[in-house]
């Protein structure tokens, strides 16, 4: 495969404003694409902004509650106009566009920290919901199931990723390595200096390119009318996140970044053949695994809280004695509560 350019966009969201932030994604994706990027990655929960207040407010005080309501309103829903704008941008620019978003189901009130991968054909090719939020994040985000632990063939390598401290889940990483991941996205809010060694370790462990991408936002980027702003946020020196974006080669060498303290697009040229050849030395799911000793099973089944069944379509036009069971199950479907046995009402 020939080398391609990948871009990590370090930027500030338009905080808690989904459509304005998506406008910024579109503009920055255009800019990255004009530099030749075939893959453009945005930070964790970039749309409509990482809920930083979970680390500053008391968990359920009035400010936290009103901010949650705002986040819920501004979250991204799959199959919505917001999602459509991102998909069309990927198609128009002919790029893979990976965006961190706070996401929810159409009718849901639980938010997920998701990574959305839009393909150059304008489809939502992958969605991964963070499996385990960290600390204060557990007060705003639910936990995803194993169905998002996928990788996608991008044409220039297999693409996938984990979000922030999920990158400290050895079994989740193994699930991606097992799918032959070549380009590993690690959107994060982690600003610590040791985050870079973690990216380098993953690159060496999986012999994969690693694209770390972090938001860059300070208190002066927040809207004036943000609830709790005066109580919880300061001025230009109050960084919510300074940024930490970097791109690492499969051996663990840093090839771009880390960029801190400013917005910018971190670009690097990558070559999947290099990653695959590096596995001569180490392959965690091949010659350097011990499947006779250590065997991992991953449940990749989507796990909805409630699954609805309707069997009435299968009820024959002329009911016979044999269809009694079917009829009883049909009676238990939503919309017919009156037919539930009395003790179940």
């Amino acid at each position: 495969m020939s080398p391609v350019t990948v871009a990590a966009v370090q930027a500030a969201p338009e905080f808690l404003d989904r459509d304005a932030t998506i406008g910024k994604v579109v503009a920055l994706a255009e800019k990255a694409a004009s530099r030749g990027a075939r893959l453009v990655a945005f930070p964790e929960a970039f749309v409509p902004g990482y809920p930083d207040w979970v680390w500053r407010t008391r968990p359920w005080d009035a400010t936290a509650t009103v901010l949650y309501a705002r986040l819920l309103e501004q979250a991204v829903v799959a199959d919505s106009p917001a999602c459509d704008t991102l998909a069309k941008t990927a198609r128009r620019l002919g790029i893979w566009l990976s965006v961190g978003a706070t996401e929810r189901d159409q009718t849901g009130s639980t938010l997920y920290n998701a990574l959305l991968h839009f393909a150059p054909d304008g489809t939502l090719a992958g969605r991964h919901r963070k499996l385990m939020p960290s600390g204060g994040e557990r007060l705003v985000w639910g936990a995803g199931d194993g169905s998002g632990l996928t990788t996608i063939e991008a044409g220039f390598g297999r693409l996938g990723g984990l979000i922030c401290w999920e990158n400290y889940m050895p079994l989740a990483r193994s699930a991606l390595y097992a799918q032959g991941i070549d380009i590993y996205l690690a959107p994060t809010w982690d600003n610590s200096e040791v985050w870079i060694p973690t990216l380098r370790h993953i690159a060496k462990e999986g012999r994969t390119y690693v694209v770390g991408v972090t938001a860059c936002i300070r208190a002066t980027d927040l809207p004036e009318d943000l609830p709790g702003r005066a109580d919880h946020y300061g001025g230009a020196e109050d960084w919510l996140s300074r940024g930490n974006s970097a791109i690492i080669a499969p051996g663990g060498d840093i090839i771009a970044g880390p960029l801190t303290g400013e917005e910018g697009i971190v670009c690097a040229e990558i070559d999947t053949d290099v990653a695959r050849a590096a596995r001569q030395q180490f392959d965690p799911v091949g010659h350097y695994s011990r499947s006779d000793v250590l065997r991992l099973t991953v449940d990749a089944t989507p796990r909805a809280a409630v699954t609805f069944r309707r069997d009435d379509a299968e009820v024959p036009a002329r009911p016979s004695a044999g269809s009694a069971a079917l009829s009883r199950e049909a009676a238990l479907t939503p919309g017919q509560p009156a037919s539930l046995p009395a003790e179940q009402r």
């Binding site: 400290y168 193994s174 462990e205 011990r290 991953v298 796990r303």
Partner: protein, 338 residues
């Protein structure tokens, strides 16, 4: 809570000389114990040193004498060398953890093994490297899953993996799930990339990490060593520099912050006081085998049974009889099938 004083010994071995190298272990352990160390860690295959030829020459090219030397100087358990190491631990009342080239009493396969000796002079643990790396596969066999155990010293739970085993996520997870607090990583790996890995692993399981390397300059290879000129060809030194082992010993805190080292190009024993409370406190943030795990999604199965080359049916029948004889081994069935 308690504090554990550890010593990470970066030192030179006497190449392929088991007894002379154990002499160094004796002196270095005494020195570290005099500084109050309770746990003293030596590098990967320190006794009797690294089989340097596997990287300085093509595989199997004129290595007969060297392999013979290695086999003669390997540590056999039980044997005089391992008894001697146990005595050193007992004499100084310390935990002594040391990498050795090990073989079975009648075996010709060498294993890359780490031995754990208790302050009572007992061999409390033994880990054979699961997968050797690259050219190492031409001198070392593979361990089984029976040696992946964390040990409780009474002060801390200690355990670890050898060199690039540290890149095996499943093996690490298995030890994390056993509550390891102080991670020992004897290694030959040089450079900053390895330090990044030590820091990552510390932060991944919020524990202390002790990486320990040997250090050896080309001039330290004894003048009379067989085939010395071929062992370290001039071209190899031109490409790689005069340090056959550069050293990289480091101690890392549960936050991923480097506490001591990395030390390179000299012998040095790093001493560090590890407060176990730091592990407990850090795990409220992240505990990969606890609150940050998803056991509904991930299920890791580990086969911890010893896997000897042969299980004699007579032995099984005997064991079965001891157990009441109910599920006796039907050797006759196999004959019938044959």
């Amino acid at each position: 809570m308690t504090t554990l004083r550890i010593a990470a010994v970066q030192a030179s071995y006497v190449l392929m000389d088991r007894d002379a190298t154990i002499g160094k272990v004796t002196a270095l352990t005494a020195a570290a114990a005099a500084r109050g160390a309770q746990l003293i860690v030596f590098p990967e295959v320190f006794v009797p040193g690294t089989p340097i030829w596997i990287d300085t020459q093509p595989i199997w090219k004129g290595d007969e004498d060297w392999f013979a030397l290695l086999a003669d100087n390997a540590v056999v358990i039980p044997g005089r060398a391992s008894e001697h190491l146990a005595e050193i631990a007992a004499e100084h009342r310390v935990w002594l953890v040391i990498g050795v080239q090990e073989r079975e009493p009648h075996g010709s396969t060498i294993y890359n093994t780490v031995l754990y000796f208790s302050p009572l002079g007992e061999l409390a643990g033994r880990h054979r490297k699961l997968v050797p790396t690259g050219s190492e596969r031409t001198v070392w066999g593979m361990g089984d899953g029976s040696t992946l155990r964390v040990i409780d010293t009474g002060v801390a739970r200690i355990g670890g993996l050898i060199c690039w085993e540290n890149y095996m996520p499943l093996a690490r997870f298995h030890l994390y799930a056993q509550g390891v607090q102080v991670w020992l990583a004897p290694t030959l790996a040089s450079g900053d990339g390895w330090i990044a890995t030590m820091r990552h692993i510390a932060r991944e399981n919020r524990m202390f990490v002790v990486g320990v390397n040997p250090v050896l300059h080309a001039d330290q290879v004894p003048a009379g060593f067989p085939g010395r000129d071929r062992l370290i060809p001039a071209g190899y030194l031109d490409d790689n520099g005069p340090w056959l082992e550069e050293g990289n010993t480091v101690v890392v805190a549960p936050s991923g912050t480097v506490l001591a080292g990395p030390v390179r190009q000299r012998e040095e024993t790093l001493i560090a006081d590890l407060s176990l409370r730091d592990v407990t406190v850090a795990r409220r943030h992240l505990d990969p085998a606890g609150h940050y795990n998803r056991p509904d999604i991930f299920r890791l199965q580990v086969n911890t049974s010893p896997r000897p080359a042969v299980i004699e049916s007579g032995t099984i029948a005997a064991i079965s009889q001891l157990n009441g004889g109910s599920d006796e081994y039907h050797a006759s069935d196999e004959h019938a099938r044959a």
